[in-house]
C-alpha cells in the first residue's frame, strides 16, 4: 500500500514535469505541434498496420528502452530511499499502457498490450549507459581546439560507446546504412556533451572574439567531422552514388550542432552548470524527419541563436 502511494506520487510528479516542459515550448507552437504531430501519427499508423502483434509490441517496448539507456537518476532515487527498479517499472508500464491502449483501439489488436507490457517489464533490469568519470590517466586530446572543450569532456566520458560505434559502423560500411547510422548516433550522443555549462571565466575567455556563437559552432562541428571522418571516407568510397545523402548529412549535422551550441547559451547564466536539452533536441530533430516540422526547427535555430547572443551580452557586456 505504501509502495503504491509512493509510485502514484512519483508518476504524478513526472506527469507534471512533462506538462511543464511542454508549457515552456509555448502554447501557439504547441498547438501547431499537436496538429502536425497528429497528422504524422496517422500516417505512421497506416504504415504500421502490416506489422504483427509481436512486432508492434516490440516497437512499443523500444520507447522505454530509449529512455532507460539514458537515465542518470539512480543515485538520486537511492538517496531518497526509492527503489529505482520499481520506479522505472511503474513509469515504463504506465507509458506503454497509455500508448498501447491507443494502438489496440486503432487496430483492434488487444494482444499487443500484454505482450508490450511483458517486454517493457524487462527493460528496468537492463543496465543504463551513464557517463562515467574515468580515474587514472587523463587523455590530453590536444587535437580538439579549446573552444570545442565539450568534445574533450564528452570524449573522455563516452570513449567506449564512441569507439564501438566508429569501429562497428566503419567495419560494416559495406552496407550503405551503417555509416549513416554511425553519423546519426554519434551526433545524438554528442547532445549530452552540451548539457554541462562552463564557468563564467571560461565563457569570458572566448566571448571577446567576434561572432562567438558562430566560431564556437564551427569549432564543434569541425571536431564532429574529424571524429566521423572514417565513416565519411568509407561512405564516399563505397557508396559514391549516394553523395547527395552525404551532403544532406553535412547540412543537417551543421544545423544540429549550431542548435546545440545556441541552446546551451540561450539559457546560460553564471554558475549554471547544467543545461537540460533532451526535450528541446527532440523537438528540433522532428524537423529532420518530417517536412511539416522543418519551419519549427528553423524557427528554433533563429530563436535560440538570438536568445544566446542576448543572454551572453547581458552577463558579459563588451
Amino acid at each position: 500500500m505504501h509502495m503504491l502511494r509512493t509510485i502514484n506520487l512519483w508518476l504524478r510528479i513526472r506527469a507534471r514535469q512533462i506538462w511543464r516542459i511542454l508549457q515552456t515550448v509555448g502554447w501557439p507552437l504547441l498547438t501547431v505541434f499537436t496538429l502536425v504531430f497528429a497528422g504524422v501519427v496517422l500516417m505512421l499508423l497506416e504504415t504500421m498496420q502490416q506489422l504483427t502483434d509481436w512486432q508492434l509490441a516490440l516497437l512499443l517496448a523500444l520507447l522505454p528502452l530509449g529512455i532507460h539507456l539514458q537515465r542518470k537518476d539512480q543515485g538520486f532515487l537511492k538517496l531518497l530511499h526509492l527503489r529505482p527498479l520499481l520506479i522505472y517499472l511503474a513509469e515504463y508500464l504506465a507509458l506503454v499502457l497509455a500508448i498501447g491502449l491507443l494502438l489496440a483501439l486503432f487496430y483492434g489488436k488487444w494482444l499487443i498490450i500484454p505482450l508490450a507490457l511483458g517486454l517493457s517489464s524487462l527493460v528496468p533490469l537492463l543496465p543504463t549507459l551513464p557517463p562515467k568519470i574515468r580515474q587514472g590517466t587523463i587523455w590530453q586530446l590536444s587535437w580538439i581546439p579549446p573552444m570545442a572543450f565539450e568534445w574533450r569532456m564528452g570524449w573522455r566520458q563516452q570513449v567506449v560507446p564512441l569507439l564501438i560505434l566508429l569501429l562497428g559502423c566503419t567495419g560494416l560500411s559495406y552496407f550503405t546504412v551503417a555509416p549513416v547510422v554511425g553519423f546519426v548516433i554519434i551526433a545524438l550522443l554528442a547532445a549530452s556533451f552540451y548539457e554541462t555549462a562552463e564557468s563564467p571565466e571560461l565563457v569570458a575567455l572566448f566571448w571577446h572574439q567576434p561572432n562567438f556563437i558562430v566560431r564556437k559552432w564551427w569549432a564543434n562541428w569541425q571536431v564532429y567531422l574529424v571524429v566521423t571522418s572514417p565513416l565519411s571516407v568509407t561512405f564516399l568510397v563505397l557508396h559514391a552514388q549516394y553523395w547527395h545523402v552525404y551532403l544532406a548529412l553535412l547540412v543537417l549535422s551543421a544545423a544540429y550542432f549550431f542548435f546545440l551550441v545556441a541552446y546551451k547559451y540561450a539559457g546560460y547564466w553564471p554558475n549554471r552548470y547544467k543545461v537540460y536539452n533532451q526535450t528541446a533536441v527532440g523537438l528540433f530533430l522532428l524537423g529532420f524527419f518530417s517536412l511539416f516540422f522543418l519551419p519549427v526547427s528553423c524557427y528554433f535555430l533563429w530563436r535560440y541563436y538570438r536568445r544566446a547572443t542576448q543572454q551572453l551580452h547581458y552577463y558579459f557586456p563588451k
Binding site: 506520487l9 507534471r16 516542459i21 543515485g75 530511499h81 580515474q135
Partner: protein
C-alpha cells in the same frame, strides 16, 4: 550502542582512499569529520550509505550489520530534478513519512516551495536538501559540508536544528573543512588526512586541535610564500 566502523578499506581502482579505517560513533551524538579536500570524507560517507562497496571491513549499527535504509545523506552539491517544485521534492522525501509537516519545517528556512528547486541559489538548495534529509526520518544522518553556501542567519538556524535533531535521537556525522562549524556543532571531531585518522578530539581538546592546525598550515604556507616572494 553506536555506529561501529571496523578496518574499512575503500578505493577507486588501484587507488586506496580509506585504509584500515576504524571509528566508533556513539548513538545520538553529533560527530565531526574534519579533513582537507581529498582526505576521504565523502568516500567514507558514500561507503556508510552503501553507494561505495568497501574492499574489506565491517559497518555495524546497534550491534547488527548496518542496513543502508537507516542512513540519510546530504550531498555537497544536492541534485534536484528539473521542472519539479521544492514542495514536490519534499513530498518525495517524505514518502515513508507521510505525516511530515512540510510547512512547519519550512517556517525555519522560509523557502518558496512553489518554485522550481533547480532555480534556487546554492544556499537555498542546501536548505531544501536539509529539509529533505529531515523528511526522510532516518536514525543516522550524514551531512557533507552542510554549512556551505548558507548565509549567516541560516548557519545559526542550522546549529539549532542540528542540536534539536540530536535531542530527538539522531546520530549525526558532519563532514567539513571549516573547523569552526564543527567545534560549534559537534561533541567529537575526527581529523582525517589521506584516508587515515590522525587523531580524535573531544570538546575539551578543540582549542588544541585549532592551534595544531593553525600552526601546521601557517608554517607550510609561510615557507611556500617565502619561496615565492624571496
Amino acid at each position: 550502542m553506536s555506529l561501529h566502523i571496523q578496518k574499512l578499506q575503500v578505493g577507486y581502482g588501484d587507488q586506496m582512499v580509506l585504509q584500515d579505517f576504524s571509528l566508533d560513533v556513539p548513538a545520538e551524538a553529533t560527530f565531526g569529520i574534519l579533513g582537507s579536500n581529498g582526505a576521504g570524507k565523502t568516500t567514507l560517507f558514500k561507503t556508510i550509505l552503501g553507494h561505495k562497496k568497501p574492499f574489506s571491513g565491517h559497518l555495524q549499527w546497534q550491534g547488527a550489520t548496518l542496513a543502508h535504509q537507516q542512513v540519510a545523506y546530504l550531498e555537497t552539491h544536492p541534485y534536484f530534478m528539473p521542472y519539479t517544485t521544492a514542495r514536490e521534492y519534499l513530498q518525495l522525501c517524505a514518502h515513508q513519512n507521510p505525516n511530515f509537516p512540510i510547512e512547519k519545517w519550512n517556517a525555519i528556512f522560509q523557502l518558496p516551495l512553489q518554485q522550481f528547486a533547480i532555480s534556487f541559489s546554492t544556499g537555498m538548495k542546501k536548505k531544501l536538501a536539509i529539509l529533505g534529509i529531515i523528511a526522510l526520518d532516518k536514525p543516522i544522518l550524514l551531512l557533507d559540508e552542510p554549512f556551505n553556501g548558507l548565509d549567516l542567519e541560516s548557519v545559526e538556524r542550522m546549529y539549532s536544528v542540528l542540536a534539536r535533531l540530536q535531542q530527538i535521537g539522531k546520530t549525526i556525522l558532519i563532514s567539513s573543512h571549516i573547523l569552526e562549524t564543527l567545534t560549534r556543532s559537534c561533541e567529537k571531531i575526527c581529523f582525517l588526512q589521506k584516508g587515515a585518522i590522525q587523531a580524535n578530539y573531544d570538546q575539551a581538546a578543540f582549542p588544541e586541535l585549532a592551534a595544531t592546525l593553525r600552526q601546521q598550515f601557517e608554517q607550510d604556507t609561510e615557507s611556500q610564500l617565502d619561496e615565492l616572494f624571496d
